[in-house]
Each structure stands twice: as structure tokens, then as C-alpha cells.
């Protein structure tokens, strides 16, 4: 565990920590809290052969599949805003990635077992279905039916799953790695507690005093966190509750670009390889657009994008 003054690093330094072939987990739920600045930086720096296990990480996986960076995916559900994720589907259909299917609760319980330091978790999901019957690269380490030794009740058990790296995008963190989030938390703190190494990207870095003052929003204590990166708009084009709404137009651009490898490559050339870092990316997105996406303090949505802006 690094000391506080070494935890705060740049995005470039953080992305460099991830080796090719790492088993990674990304935070998210639908279009929120996906660490997409980190993912773009991974793509800029050419990561490959990744193994990804996640929950709600569609946006991250879709980009990484489009960049050809992924070998294995433990998938629960990948949906774009308006339909399927074309890069992921194409890779699965062409066999360039291997998949292992879980349910949301099933895979979260695998992380939870690791988070709790126990070898497995009993569940009442996935059993009886093909999520249990069909096992691919997690064969015999996925889920099995099991009779409770105390009562004989039939259930399932899932083994622990500890990713090498969890990359989580949060609202606020201090330099030590105490993390705060507003609204729903998805499986964010669970994957962080399960992982061997944790990288936090945060919209804002605040003093520890501020964390203490508002500690009802703290979801993860610092001793789980190895590195902290100040990453404003780091979930873009996804959103972060109370900070900014998702950018539907840019999300659709990614989905449309994913229709073929050529158009996906063109997207990356323009937006990722063509911008030397995230600051350049956001200058290209445009300050105006970012300001328009800011969350209304009440509802969390962008008034311009979601309501009739007079």
C-alpha cells in the first residue's frame, strides 16, 4: 500500500500501471460512473489481451472491444443507449473474444466473496439456467448447485473473483483515497474491495476534512485504494450524478461507429489517437458542450439535453 503522498498521480501514470493481459474490472451502471477517460488513455497507450470482469461496465468494454484490446470477458449485460453494443457483439460472434455469461447478482456475488475474504458465496440465482449449464473459460470455477449442509436446501455457490485491477470513477476523493459518491453505487465499492489493486478516478479532489464533514457519502475507505487520479469529466460521454448528464449524441456516435471495424477505427483516429491526452479530448468535445451537460442541482439532468430549453 502506497503512502498518501504517493497515491495522487496523473492519468497517464495510472494507465501505465496496467500490464497487458491484466484481469480488470471497471465501475459503472449503464451510462454512469464509467471511467472512460481512463479507458481512452488505455487505448491511446495500446493495451492488449485484457481479461475483463465487470458489472455495469458496458461503455468501457464496448470501447476496448472496438480497439481490439480484449481477450476474455465475464459479461452480465451490455446495452448501449439505443440497442446492443456492436463492437462487443461482433467480437463475440467472430470469436475474437471469449465470453463467460453471468447475471448481475451472480457476478457481483463472486466479487463480494473476494471482498469479504471468503472462498465462495451461496446464491439462489443462475442455477437451473444455461448460465450454470454452459460454462466456458470459467468451467468448474463459475457456479455449481449445492445443498446447504445445515438444512439440505438446494442453492448455488459461486467462487470468489478478485480482479488484478479495479478502476472506479467516483465523485470526490481525498489524496489518501477515501471515496465519495452521490446516488446509486452499483457494484462500485464491491469491485474495489475485491480487487488486488485499486485505481480511483475522481471528479474532484477534496481535503480529508471535507470528507469527514460529509461522511454519509463516503463509500470506500482509503486503505482499499492504491492510486487516486483527478479526472474531471472522467466518465464522459457517460454521466456522474450531480455533476453532469450523459451525452446521448456522443454515445450514439460511438454506437454508430461500432457498426464496422473501419468506422470504429475512424472514431478512434479522430477522438482517441488524434487527441494527445484527455485535456485535448475535452477541448475537442468543447467547453460549451461540457458546460451544457452540467447537472441540474435538483434532477441531475442537463436541462439543455433533456428538457425543452427555451
Amino acid at each position: 500500500m502506497t503512502t498518501a503522498n504517493k497515491k495522487l498521480i496523473s492519468l497517464r501514470e495510472a494507465a501505465a500501471l496496467v500490464p497487458d493481459g491484466a484481469n480488470m474490472s471497471f465501475s459503472g451502471f449503464a451510462e454512469t460512473n464509467n471511467p472512460l477517460s481512463f479507458v481512452r488513455e488505455m487505448i491511446r497507450t495500446g493495451k492488449t489481451h485484457l481479461e475483463i470482469s465487470g458489472m455495469g461496465d458496458a461503455q468501457s468494454v464496448e470501447l476496448l472491444c472496438g480497439a481490439g484490446a480484449v481477450d476474455l470477458v465475464r459479461v452480465s449485460n451490455y446495452m448501449a443507449k439505443n440497442g446492443r453494443c456492436p463492437n462487443f457483439c461482433r467480437c463475440a460472434q467472430q470469436g475474437t473474444i471469449r465470453t463467460e455469461d453471468y447475471s448481475h447478482f451472480g457476478i457481483t456475488n463472486r466479487f463480494f466473496a473476494a471482498a469479504m475474504g471468503i472462498p465462495f458465496m451461496p446464491v439462489k440465482v443462475m442455477i437451473g439456467s444455461d448460465l450454470c449449464e454452459i460454462q466456458n473459460f470459467d468451467k468448474d470455477r463459475k457456479v455449481m448447485e449445492f445443498d446447504d449442509p445445515f438444512s439440505g436446501e438446494r442453492c448455488g455457490i459461486v467462487p470468489r473473483l478478485a480482479p488484478d485491477f479495479a478502476v472506479i470513477h467516483v465523485a470526490r476523493a481525498d489524496a489518501e483515497g477515501n471515496c465519495q459518491l452521490y446516488g446509486i453505487t452499483s457494484s462500485i465499492e464491491i469491485i474495489a474491495r475485491a480487487a488486488k489493486h485499486v485505481i480511483v478516478t475522481a471528479e474532484e479532489i477534496v481535503d480529508t476534512e471535507e470528507i469527514r464533514r460529509t461522511n454519509q457519502f463516503t463509500i470506500l475507505p482509503s486503505f482499499f485504494v492504491d492510486y487516486v487520479v483527478h479526472c474531471p469529466f472522467g466518465a464522459y460521454p457517460g454521466g456522474v450524478f450531480t455533476y453532469y448528464d450523459y451525452d446521448l449524441e456522443h454515445l450514439d456516435l460511438i454506437t454508430r461507429s461500432g457498426k464496422s471495424p473501419d468506422t470504429m477505427e475512424a472514431y478512434f483516429d479522430e477522438w482517441v489517437y488524434g487527441t494527445k491526452d484527455e485535456a485535448a479530448f475535452f477541448d475537442k468535445v468543447g467547453i460549451r458542450r461540457l458546460m451544457d451537460l452540467r447537472a441540474d442541482p435538483y434532477s441531475g439532468v442537463s436541462l439543455r439535453n433533456r428538457r425543452q430549453f427555451l
Partner: protein, 288 residues
Amino acid sequence: MKQTKLMTGQQAAALISDNSSILLFDGYEPVSLIRELLQQNSRGLTLYTCGLAFCAALLAACGAADHILAGCDPGSGFIPEAECTSGFTPEVLCVGKAVLKAQLAAAVNGGDHAAIPVPERLLTKAPALYREVPGVFGAGTGTAAAALHPDVAILHTARADFYGNVQLDPSADMRDADTLRLALAAKTVIVSAEQIVSDDAIRMNARCGLFEPEAVACVVEAPYGAHPTAFATRYRADEELLRAYEAKEDPAAFARQHLLSFPDQDCYLAGLGFERLISLTTNRRGEA
């Protein structure tokens, strides 16, 4: 449907005619709107500044202001009580914050003067505004400062909705609100806001409100609208730019290059760039 008061910066500036008198507030400087005034080549302005005001210095340097009544002490701030070097010489009178505030308060209260002590030199320099008068309740004399009725007050705030409800951020020191409410001395109030928010958001933070919406003529959305000055609840002053401005021989030329060469606020911010704006930002949302 209620009428919306939302305007662009350009539309708002067009409401202000030449030779108007404008009230500005230190710490709530509507620099983006002042840039629009300069773009439209406003002339003959009289400025009342509650505190120091970079905007006043900017307007003076660019020859837009003829008179400045500054609510600060002589020798402080951007404009010395002396000539400026742009070729035009606005008349500058530093009256101190307390006196200026009292004059505005008198206007708000419907009186024609404030009974407040004023320094000797103001009685000689500006007898139209500051006079010795007989004591009212006792013997001897006192001084009277004329109530001020600016044509327009322009201020930059945190949040506003479409209908003219204007608020400071929840993290703000609401003690500033009393001073800002002196804007009601003006015949018209024009507001720029960091963010336009919903009426639900306004209701959620009702205690942060400044004025009744009826008092506000129009609202302009201007994120980082006080740049390069600070907006206390959201971002620091751009010290680098301000120091460079102060150091320049020809402030008007500097202003034209760095502040005025952008058609609007969007282009101005794009010119500053994401990295710089983030480095100045202390609080993204203005929340407590």
C-alpha cells in the same frame, strides 16, 4: 406559459445604451457581459463600483467609461484616482465602500440622501453629490450623500432559472447578499449566472435567493463568466492573466488581444482551454 427572461450576452448588452450608468459589484463581476459591451462599442458610461472592480478598469482602459464613482479607497485597486493612459481620461472619484453603499441604500429605501459622514475632500470634489447640511436632531452640521439611482446594475451570480429567480451557491457566504441587494437601487437589473437551473433547484435552495424575479430584467448563462476575476464559490482569479494586465503599458491593447478578440463567451472559454479552466476551479458545483 411564463415568459422566459433568458437572453444571450449580446442581447443583454444591447439593452444598455450609451451614456448609461452602471452599478458593478466586487467579487461578482460580469466580465463576459462587459466584454459584450465593449464589442458593441459602448460609450459615455458612468460606473458605480461597489468595491474594486476589474470591469471598471477594463471599461476605462478601452475608453468606454467617462466617469467612475468607485466604492473603494484612493490608491487601492486597478484605477488610481488619476489619469489613465488610454488617451481618454475617465473622471475617477474614490468614495469608499461605506459611502457608496449608503447612497445605494438610500435609493432602495426611497430617500433622496444618506446621512453619513463623508471625507472632507468629497465635499469639494463632488458638491453635486456630497454636502454639508445642518444637524437634524441636534445642533451643528452633518453631511449628506445623494441617493444613487444607476440605470442598470449588472452582476454575475451562481444560479438563475428562466424566470429571473437568482441565487448564490449553497456554499456561499450569504452575508454578501445584503450588499448585492443594493442592486435594487438601479432601474434595471441584468444578471449573468454560472448555471441556469430548474425551478425545482431554485425551490430546493430558496434561502440562497437574492431578489424577487420581477426585479430582474434578463438572465444570461455564462459559465466562468467572472473570469479572469474570481467567483468565490467556484473558481480562483486567473492571477497570471491579471498580473499581466496590470503590468502592461497599454492595457487597452492587452485587453483587445486577450479578452476581446473572441466573438462570444463560448469562444473565449475555448481559447482558455480545458486544462486552464479546471486548474482555476475550486468547486465544480458550488455545493456546500
